[in-house]
Symmetry: C2
Subunit: 222 residues, 2 copies
DNA sequence: ACCTGAACACCGTTCAAGT
DNA sequence: ACCTGAACACCGTTCAAGT
């Protein structure tokens, strides 16, 4: 019997954090629609009713997951340039959605209600204020950027099916599903992507840089 | 007994369309989260089980609602300029969200699976192809624009609470909720909006025109 | 062809009872 | 303080039975 195992956390101790982490794991592995109180309890080796000792209900559970997931978004250090800072947080959010496919939907609904959401907004707005935007303009820039960043994720998932298939497969399927001759423009685009896959990163950067250009023109020095 | 009433439709006849329209009315009035099969059936004066004669299940019900709601988006006539066409459909989508607050979430998930969604995509892509964009570029432009249009709706609803209160009230609440001194940038922006309300239309147009500018630069003649 | 009644398998949640 | 067992009010859905 070792005095102290390398792994110092006692796995048997159940607390709010372990409940939330396990819930995230369930959502990652089997999808957030399979996350029920009974399923989560089973994973933790307890009864569903016991969960209410650690979270006040399912809404609190989802709020806690949102809080943790927002905290995973990497906010670049304050000394990097504002434009690079906006680019990096956008990229970080997109990486987050790769790890947690359910995150975008949760963040949409609950961003502003979580402590980590306030910290996130404050850091972003602080970066924009520091380079000379007025509070009102900074707020607008923040709104426009995040509309695009989070909106892109939703549209993107429409394009490439949830299945592992890449965008050429999806384009092929869409192309096949179109009644011949009915939607010529859509068929042409689907055919183009079936031949050459859509570059999601480049597609995202295209819109992002346009918005950053516009914000840059609002800076006092520019 | 009149040979034929002005109102030719017999209100008693239940069919898929009337089920879908009633479901939309429930979602409009009480929110989509209150739309249950039992509630809908009650509105129609039948039992929940009878709904399955007209829709194959709740998923089919939501798909049908999405199809109808996408069809409400006004696609401008083909002879107007591409830029005006993009502007008009964006405005039309935003008006749609005023009528049907639940529409954005449904459209996100189901746009591409509905006949009206295919028609919508074909019309938009057709407009972009006609002014000389390649299929691949047109697809990217479509994705970028719709990311912004639908993303803005989600971020906007975060800003202005679902309650009737306008954005100054929300800003005031946010400002009050912030621990004093903790989030100075966020507090400054909230204070600015508490004094002067955020202009949602102008804020939306700011980002939209930036994206349209960028797309315009990709045109062969530009 | 359309509707009903009753049931089924599932939810989130509550609460008295245990330890 | 934390867990269990059993119940409650609700879901979506199925199906035999009616007309």
């Amino acid at each position: 019997m070792p005095r102290r195992a390398h792994n110092d956390e006692r796995r048997e101790t159940l607390n709010r954090d372990r409940v939330l982490r396990t819930a995230m794991a369930v959502a990652d592995e089997r999808g957030i629609e399979t996350l029920t109180m009974r399923e989560l309890a089973g994973r933790l080796g307890i009864e569903a009713a016991s969960l209410y000792n650690h979270v006040s209900g399912k809404d609190d559970l989802l709020a806690g997951m949102a809080d943790l997931v927002i905290a995973e978004i990497d906010l670049p250090s304050e000394d990097s340039g504002w434009r690079e800072a906006m680019r990096r947080r956008a990229m970080s959010a997109r990486e987050l959605f790769e790890r947690h496919g359910w995150a975008a939907a949760l963040i949409d609904t609950r961003m502003q209600a979580q402590p980590s959401g306030l910290a996130y907004a404050d850091r972003v707005l602080g970066t924009l204020l520091r380079v000379g935007l007025s509070p009102a303009v900074a707020g607008n820039a923040f709104l426009v950027l995040d509309s695009y960043i989070y909106g892109y994720e939703r549209q993107r998932t429409i394009l490439s099916r949830d299945d592992g298939g890449d965008s050429t497969d999806t384009a092929q399927e869409v192309g096949d599903a179109i009644p011949p001759g009915a939607f010529p423009a859509l068929a042409a685009v689907a055919a183009a992507y079936a031949k050459q896959p859509f570059d999601e990163d480049a597609g995202f950067a295209f819109g992002l840089e346009l918005l950053l250009d516009g914000i840059e023109r609002l800076l006092p020095t520019g």
